[in-house]
């Protein structure tokens, strides 16, 4: 998990085009000769669904493709398991070009490497829940007892224990999609394609499913391509988000990059209503700590330092710069009166702390419940910054890049 290790590329799309119509190849030539999408639709009746898409997805990543209907997101995800054949371009999975695979090879890839979860669940109504989940194993030719046992395990994992023998249409939407998810997971794929998997669910159930899904991913190591039309879902689920419009990727970046620096008006329009506090991480608004003291120092030094810097508190660190606690100026003065000579005696472990990658939102309840400052610490508990109340308020409202001049 360390950041120095370069992640392995699992899926790689190179200049993928998809044109629907009876003569896509010729249409592609027309585009290269400069005809626009509208002219092509009008004169030839061809629809350009995906235009020159390139992206890489790293192993274990959650890659979100976001776009409205007709943006080409469903087409591109279907190119990844060749439910749709791209008109041109290459798609590599583990450095193997999908286009070079024959029928049998692509079937094997679908059976073992890539699974899919569908927007409308696409469960088989003539099969029970467990036989739905076992479908992928069944087509692989795995004996009934074995595939049922595996299906049963996966059903337990998604919280559907006891529903094995029901028909899928007897289940609620959320439960049906759990079956869909279980069916996809049962074959233990390396890649999971989520085609608007939670879009058909009620908002409350959707949020619950998102959380459970993210939680599930901590147990199973998968590479996820997640399609959605809902920006807040994209920002919540994605490690990186690609925003598509008219078959093009208009922006590709981390949720934070997209919210802070939308690439064009289209994306700006999208992120307008996103609460920054949910996306912008703490490190963007943190300041260097004003006063830091070591636990072997004494209260007199503490009072002096705080007076010098005109602050009311100081962070106490141990020799490894790990955060030990916070002391206020009044507490330090009291300590002098009490004759305490080392700050380590005063440490109560009372510091409010947060990681640098947490969204600003998480700081708000901390800052609201106490007068003490909030410390930002890294994975090794070392102090790397503090959050001032003024910065917190600014961080929640400020718009960067001069965008606040726009309507």
């Amino acid at each position: 998990m360390s950041e120095t290790e370069t992640p392995r590329v699992k899926i790689s799309c190179r200049n993928v085009w998809k044109i629907f119509g009876h003569d896509p190849q010729n249409t592609l030539n027309l585009i290269q000769n400069g005809m626009t999408k509208e002219e092509i639709l009008e004169q030839t009746g061809h629809i350009i669904a995906v235009r020159d898409i390139s992206f890489d997805v790293n192993e274990g990543e959650i890659f979100v493709i976001m776009g409205l209907s007709g943006s080409g997101k469903s087409t591109i995800i279907r190119c990844l398991n060749r439910l749709i054949d791209p008109t041109s371009g290459q798609i590599f999975i583990d450095d193997v070009d999908l286009a070079t695979m024959n029928e049998t090879e692509i079937r094997m890839t679908r059976r073992h490497q890539i699974s899919m979860v569908f927007q409308q669940f696409a469960l088989f109504p003539h099969r029970s829940v467990i036989d739905n989940v076992a479908y992928g194993l069944e087509v692989q030719g795995i004996p009934k007892a074995e595939r049922r046992e595996r299906a049963w395990e996966v059903l337990n994992m998604v919280g559907l224990k006891g529903w094995e023998n029901y028909h899928t249409y007897e289940l609620s939407g959320g439960m049906q999609q759990r079956v869909g998810l279980a069916r996809a997971l049962a074959v233990d794929p390396e890649i999971l394609l989520m085609d608007e998997a939670f879009s058909a669910l009620d908002p409350l159930i959707r949020r619950q499913m998102q959380d459970e899904f993210l939680n599930l991913l901590t147990q199973v190591h998968k590479t996820i391509i997640f399609i959605t039309h809902d920006l807040s879902e994209a920002l919540k689920m994605g490690e990186r988000v690609a925003i598509m419009k008219d078959g093009l990727i208009v922006q590709l970046g981390s949720p934070e990059e997209i919210v802070i620096g939308p690439a064009d008006d289209y994306v700006t329009e999208f992120v307008r209503d996103v609460p920054r506090s949910k996306v912008v991480p703490v490190r963007n608004i943190m300041k260097d700590p004003a006063v830091t003291l070591y636990s072997w120092q004494g209260p007199k030094v503490a009072v002096h330092e705080m007076r010098q810097n005109d602050v009311q508190y100081a962070f106490i660190l141990d020799p490894g710069r790990r955060l030990r606690g916070v002391i206020t100026r009044d507490e330090a003065k009291q300590a002098i009166k009490d004759g305490i000579t080392r700050l380590s005696k005063l440490v109560k472990g009372n510091a409010l702390q947060i990681g640098p990658n947490q969204p600003i939102e998480e700081v708000i309840p901390l800052a609201a419940t106490s007068d003490n400052p909030v410390a930002v610490i890294d994975e090794d508990e070392r102090l790397i910054g503090e959050i001032l109340r003024t910065e917190l308020l600014l961080g929640m409202t400020r718009e960067d890049n001069g965008n606040d001049t726009k309507q």
Partner: protein, 334 residues
Amino acid sequence: MTQNSNPPNKLVQKLQRHRKARWLFWAGTSGLILLLGWLFSSYYPESFYPPLAADPPWNLAFWVSEGMDWLIVNFAVIFDAIKLVTRWVLNSIEDSLLMLHEWSLLAIIVLWAWRLAGRRVAIFSGAAMYFIGMLGLWELCMSTLALIATAVLISMAMGIPIGILAARSDRINNTIRPVLDVMQTMPAFVYLIPAVMFFGLGNVPGVMATVIFAAPPAVRLTNLGIRQVPKDLVEAGHTFGSTDFQLLFKVQLPLALPSIMAGINQTIMLSLSMVVLAAMIAAGGLGREVYMALGQVDIGRGFVAGTTIVLVAMVLDRITQSLGQRGKRGTSAL
């Protein structure tokens, strides 16, 4: 704008050619029909168009007859084989129906109806079949059932695979659609003639004429049922790496089952309506009874046999209809 002022590109031209080709096709077909009409116009004296010769040696009817003769002479072996197999199936079914004691057969029918269609249909079926027995038409009824069963079996054995092929390919579908139209709309009497020519008189040509008349719904509704399987379910099937065969048997056919059952139900009904006509070429059963009543202008005898056919139709209809409904329950919640 510079782009627009370019001469129409290749693809646009191609599209226009395509449209032109469709026009040409229909115009050509119509022209061909008119040409044939002109060539064959002399057969009936009331022809719109004066004949080419006073008594031309060729006309449509003559041409078809010649073709038939040619087929009979050259493919006699094949027709004999078909005849043998069909007769064997027919006789086996009829023998086993007659071998069973009336009561046990009655019990089987009632039980079958009860299991598939519920108590009410079971009671009705029992009463209807018993009524037929009381009229003394039990044996004739069994002959008719054997005829229908054979015709329906053959219709299914041919119709369902053809329907599957038609569902998989638009080209096949477009090719067989007019053939099915002809099979269904051609007056059923017309089939009797080639049936007799190929298979002689008796039950076998009766079954064959019935098959031609009754098979189209099996093809059509199998095709329809498979095409109506929701796209995302087919996609899901592909996603998990199903072979075409697995997809067909694990996803498409089970989901098309209600529709296929409806097709079989229609096939049975059409077979029943053909039974009387088949009697004209010496097929047995209740049809012969009706046909003889017609010959003797015996309204009573005709009515009794006719009523029996209606009762058999109702029993078979209710039972097979429920088969389709049973399958449908699974998909209705989609």
